[in-house]
């Protein structure tokens, strides 16, 4: 069996000044190279889970181990550095900084992480190659970010998440702004690129239809033992 990249053990999180935890996960294990689909309706703690995974927030209890490192033992600066070095993130939409060119947007993570900079090699070449893999034609690269279609923007965001081969790529509802055809081709591309670059993919969405693409699916409502009052 391949080794674990993420392990949750008895993890609890509550917001400051709140008595009840919002997330309580007994155990979660994510294997290297896996394409994991985490499905959960809004309010099921998706955002909280993502904030924990990315080191934005820290659990109140339990163990969170990513890539063999204990995230709970790090301070906030170390967690931010860890995120910069090992994690690529794709948002729902508006992923790109409008004042930067496409090229600058793609290489942005390498400005914050020496680790990814050294892994990326020649930035310009690598970025072009990634954009090419993600089917952004070369003549589009000089365009303004805002001139791209939503689908193209998401693919540029994927290139940014993949540059410097981070071990884990986290995608937070990256297809919700796309139509079905675009959505499917985006997911296919993301899968093949993640495999190619050796990244584990964690894909979070409320849309259960997407689960058919994935070999491993988790419903957050099943593993989060906190009963939600406002479950839709």
């Amino acid at each position: 069996m391949s080794q674990s990249v993420v392990t949750f053990d008895n993890l609890q999180f509550r917001w400051p000044r709140s008595s009840r935890p919002v997330l309580d996960i007994a155990h979660l294990d994510i294997k290297a190279g896996e394409h994991l689909f985490i499905q959960g309706p809004s309010g099921s703690g998706k955002t909280t889970l993502l904030n924990l995974l990315t080191g934005i927030n820290q659990p109140d209890q339990g163990n969170l181990n990513i890539l063999g490192q204990d995230l709970c033992a790090m301070n906030s600066i170390q967690r931010d550095r860890f995120r910069a070095d090992h994690l690529g993130v794709i948002f729902q939409q508006f992923n790109l900084l409008p004042f930067l060119g496409i090229m600058d947007n793609v290489i942005l993570p390498c400005r914050f992480s020496r680790h990814r900079l050294s892994k990326a090699g020649d930035l310009e070449t690598t970025a072009r190659q990634l954009l090419d893999e993600l089917q952004i034609p070369g003549e589009l690269i000089s365009r303004d970010v805002m001139d791209l279609s939503v689908g193209q923007q998401q693919r540029v965001a994927a290139a940014r998440a993949l540059i410097g081969n981070p071990e884990i790529v986290i995608a937070d509802e990256p297809t919700s702004a796309l139509d079905t055809a675009n959505r499917d081709s985006f997911i296919d591309l993301l899968f093949s690129r993640a495999t190619e670059h050796g990244s584990t993919l964690i894909f979070v969405s409320h849309d259960e239809h997407l689960s058919t693409h994935f070999s491993h699916c988790i419903n957050l409502a099943d593993i989060n033992s906190i009963l939600l009052e406002n479950t839709p």
């Binding site: 955002t47 993502l50 904030n51 990315t54 934005i56 927030n57 906030s76 600066i77 931010d80 550095r81 995120r83 910069a84 070095d85 994690l87 993130v89 948002f91 729902q92 508006f94 992923n95 790109l96 900084l97 409008p98 004042f99 930067l100 600058d104 942005l108 993570p109 400005r111 914050f112 992480s113 940014r160 937070d172």
Partner: protein
């Protein structure tokens, strides 16, 4: 520094509002430095109303009073001094030159100064500038007058015009010396000093118009202008006189000698020192100007703060993206710090450029209008310190939006507020 290009590009994206902010800071910096510059120049010009004159001597009164009537033609002498004292002191071995001054008459609101040709030779202002004639020549005859630039300009006099002096400072008709008119023989160039507002006539002219007057009114015995010329017109007394010494270092000694003069009570003052005292009395005005321009600067900085704070919400997404990529909240704080630093530095730089372009553009006009020449010097230490303080204050101000953004990015995490 990896944040600098990000800051620059992000700022460029908001260039319209930011350039207006820079402009407002530039204008307030220009105003503040400009007021300071003009204040210093005004002081320099004021102190240079009279220069190269070592001592001013008059009948004993207060130093300010003596300065006011002898140089600024303000107020009156309480007493005159005798011609004899003047002759004696002006031939003192340490004295290089002496200019007699006789005041008391006026012409349509402008003061009349009786003096001699030495006045045009030795009187200096604004450093080493001589009085110069715009047209005509210096008086040579009893009934000739040389007008200051403002007098000629306001009363529209030309060479060859006849003017009538009035006794004292009133313009009442009965006090006119209308039997002995003076002919305008010369008009002076603008100096920016009280010389511009003065009618200059020979001392003998002053004697001539008063020869048939006694204690302030016309005596029944009347002499016409021609008859008067045959009389002895040597003045009996004058109001004050100016002295230039052979060696400056002897100024205090000569001053002491004059102040202890035993023939009559005299007062000698150093014009520079007394001018400084007088400026000290006037300096409230400059303080007010400075305070006003400081407030303009505060308004400019608040404008900057407003612009940056109002951009905070639209930049929340920017912050979330940066956070996702691995930026720490302190990076976010630093972004705001850098942005303010750039805005404030550009504003200051532009303000200085504006100031100098303004000074260069306006200088010839000012010389023309008021005869004051603004010396264009580089910023002095005090002004440079001021600029540094502005920069520091701007950076401190940037902590406000910086800390707000820092807190936002802690709260929001990777969540995008759309």
């Amino acid at each position: 520094m990896r944040l600098l290009p990000l800051t620059l590009k992000s700022a460029w994206n908001r260039r319209l509002s930011l350039s207006l902010t820079i402009l407002s800071i530039a204008i307030s910096v220009m105003l503040l430095l400009g007021v300071d510059q003009v204040r210093k120049e005004a002081k320099r010009n004021f102190i240079n109303t009279i220069s190269q004159t070592d001592l001013i001597v008059g009948a004993r009164s207060g130093p300010l009073n003596l300065l006011l009537y002898s140089v600024f033609r303000i107020g009156n002498a309480t007493n005159n001094l005798s011609w004899q004292s003047f002759e004696e002191i002006s031939t003192h071995p340490k004295v290089k030159w002496a200019i007699p001054l006789s005041l008391g008459d006026s012409h349509r609101g402008f003061r009349v100064l009786g003096t001699n040709q030495d006045y045009f030779k030795h009187y200096k202002f604004g450093g080493k500038r001589h009085i110069e004639l715009a047209e005509g020549k210096v008086f040579d005859h009893v009934y000739e007058a040389v007008l200051g630039a403002t007098v000629a300009n306001q009363l529209n006099y030309k060479l060859g015009d006849n003017i009538v002096l009035s006794h004292g400072l009133s313009s009442a008709r009965f006090a006119d010396h209308d039997d002995k008119p003076f002919r305008v023989i010369g008009i002076l160039k603008k100096t920016g000093t009280p010389v511009d507002r003065t009618v200059h006539v020979p001392l003998e002219g002053i004697s001539a118009i008063h020869i048939d007057w006694q204690s302030g009114s016309r005596s029944p015995l009347r002499l016409n202008a021609e008859q008067t010329l045959n009389m002895n017109l040597k003045p009996k007394e004058i109001t004050a006189f100016m002295l230039g010494l052979k060696k400056r270092i002897q100024t205090f000694r000569v001053q002491r000698e004059i102040n202890n003069y035993d023939q009559e009570p005299l007062l000698a003052i150093l014009p520079g020192a007394t001018l400084s005292t007088l400026w000290g009395l006037l300096s409230n005005f400059e303080t007010i100007l400075l305070v006003i321009s400081a407030f303009v600067l505060v308004a400019g900085l608040i404008g900057m703060l407003t612009t940056i704070i109002s951009s905070l919400n639209e930049r929340r997404r920017e912050m979330a993206i940066l956070r996702a990529i691995g930026a720490h909240p302190y990076h976010i704080l630093l972004l705001f710090l850098l942005e303010t630093l750039i805005i404030a530095s550009l504003g200051i730089l532009m303000g200085v450029i504006l100031l100098y372009s303004m000074l260069i553009a306006v200088n010839p006009l000012i010389v023309d209008w008021i005869g004051i020449s603004l010396q264009i010097t580089f910023l002095d230490w005090q002004q440079l310190t001021l600029l540094a303080v502005i920069l520091v204050v701007a950076i401190l101000i940037s902590l406000i939006p910086g800390i707000i953004a820092y807190r936002h990015s802690l709260q929001d995490g990777l969540m995008l507020r759309l």
